[in-house]
């Protein structure tokens, strides 16, 4: 009986891993900045939210994504609500793409992801600069965008394997 409940807990944890990872990444911002690589940074929550909203939407609740966005704003120091708006817009793009796609492929996902992050980043940075008068380093933004785009394929493959292992029974 005890073994059965242990298995259930582990199973549940594995199923909730995407949302746990999202919360860990917004609280921790693991982007390897401490390596002080001059031209390297990426936005892991963007990749995570887009992939899981596209492939297994029930593994990330919209309400929890909204909260993760608020936490990200607090940690980064952005006006509260902006990351939530961006994360939810990514969910919207992913849901739209899921609805219109008949034959999904990684390549299509990848290029739609590029379009999505271009739109949401433009939206976010325009509001930060025009409404909230933030000064931003545009080179850093472009570098961040490029690496986020490039690393999508790597992360998507890892998530794909994870998905097959954990969600295959359902």
């Amino acid at each position: 009986m005890a073994e059965f409940s242990k298995i259930t807990i582990v199973n549940k944890l594995l199923r909730y891993a995407p949302i746990l990872l999202l919360f860990l990444s917004v609280l921790n911002e693991f982007d390897f900045n401490y390596l002080e690589l001059k031209y390297f940074s990426f936005n892991f929550p963007f990749i995570l939210i887009f992939y899981w909203s596209l492939k297994k939407v029930e593994s990330l609740g919209y309400g929890l994504i909204f909260i993760a966005g608020l936490i990200n704003d607090v940690v980064i120091g952005f006006p509260m609500g902006i990351s939530s708006l961006v994360y939810l817009t990514i969910c919207g793009f992913a849901a739209y793409f899921r609805d219109i796609t008949l034959n999904p492929s990684l390549l299509k996902d990848w290029f739609f992801f590029l379009m999505t992050i271009l739109v949401v980043n433009s939206m976010m940075y325009s509001s930060l600069v025009l409404i909230f008068s933030f000064n931003l380093n545009y080179n850093a933004l472009i570098v961040n965008l490029i690496f986020t785009f490039l690393l999508y394929v790597v992360c998507a493959n890892i998530f794909e394997v994870y998905q097959k292992l954990v969600f295959r029974k359902s």
Binding site: Y34, G77, L85, L88
Partner: protein, 283 residues
Amino acid sequence: MDAGSRDDFIIAIRSAFLKKGNKQRFSLIFLIILSLIFLALGRINFKPIDDVKIAIREIVYRSSFFVSIPENYLKKTYQTVQSHFVIYNDYFEIKAEIKKLKAQRNVDQFIVEENKRLKKIIDDYVAESDEVVAKIIIDKNSPFLRSLIVNKGSKNKIKLGMAVLDNNNLIGKVIEVNYLTSRILLLSDLNSKIPVIVEPGNFQSILSGTGKNDGILQYLKEDYLIEENSIIYTSGAGGLFKTGIPIGKIEINELNKEKKVDFFSNFSQLQFVKIKSFNKDMN
């Protein structure tokens, strides 16, 4: 776009944004509107939203500190390993530097006392408040915002605008105060602007961050001859900081002759900082 494909597009958009998905408690559009409300109320400094913000900040900063422990451990290990490679060369350099500094110290002590007396005469002497030593609990080093979170807030008499020092070097100022935590905007942030003087020459300027690990001098006439290794101090203009807090030194790029400010403190290695304010001495 013909009518059929326009209808498909509208149906897909409606399904994506308006329909509550499987196992979802809220629809996307509801939460998007909620985010917009948060943003709008935050922009006009709506009091209840500010209170919510402070409460969330307190919880998030503490949680983030604990969640970051494994990554901070990795970061520390990486930096320790890196520093071991340069320790031998550093030893000889530091030994020579100490010898020079010891000789200079006695002269400096006299100058400091003389400076205090003279400033009192011209009524420019400022008194420092008790300094508060704070521990850094979040150091995200984001490429967009260069800020730190420390574990002291209004409970410890921290106020907006207070100077933040690492040893005796200025590293930033307090821009957000919560009950138990505060946010410090580092000098390297693009939004940081500090009035400074460049010595030798006594050139007045504004130091602005670049969003990287250095700063630039703004509003400086081109014909000013600023040498490499000139020291940047706070000018005291604006009354926020006292005059003469060391910040960094000038580095000139040999290729394009661009002048950058190399900060004395390494912002990525900070663990504890001193927070203090400077007021006019009334005695």
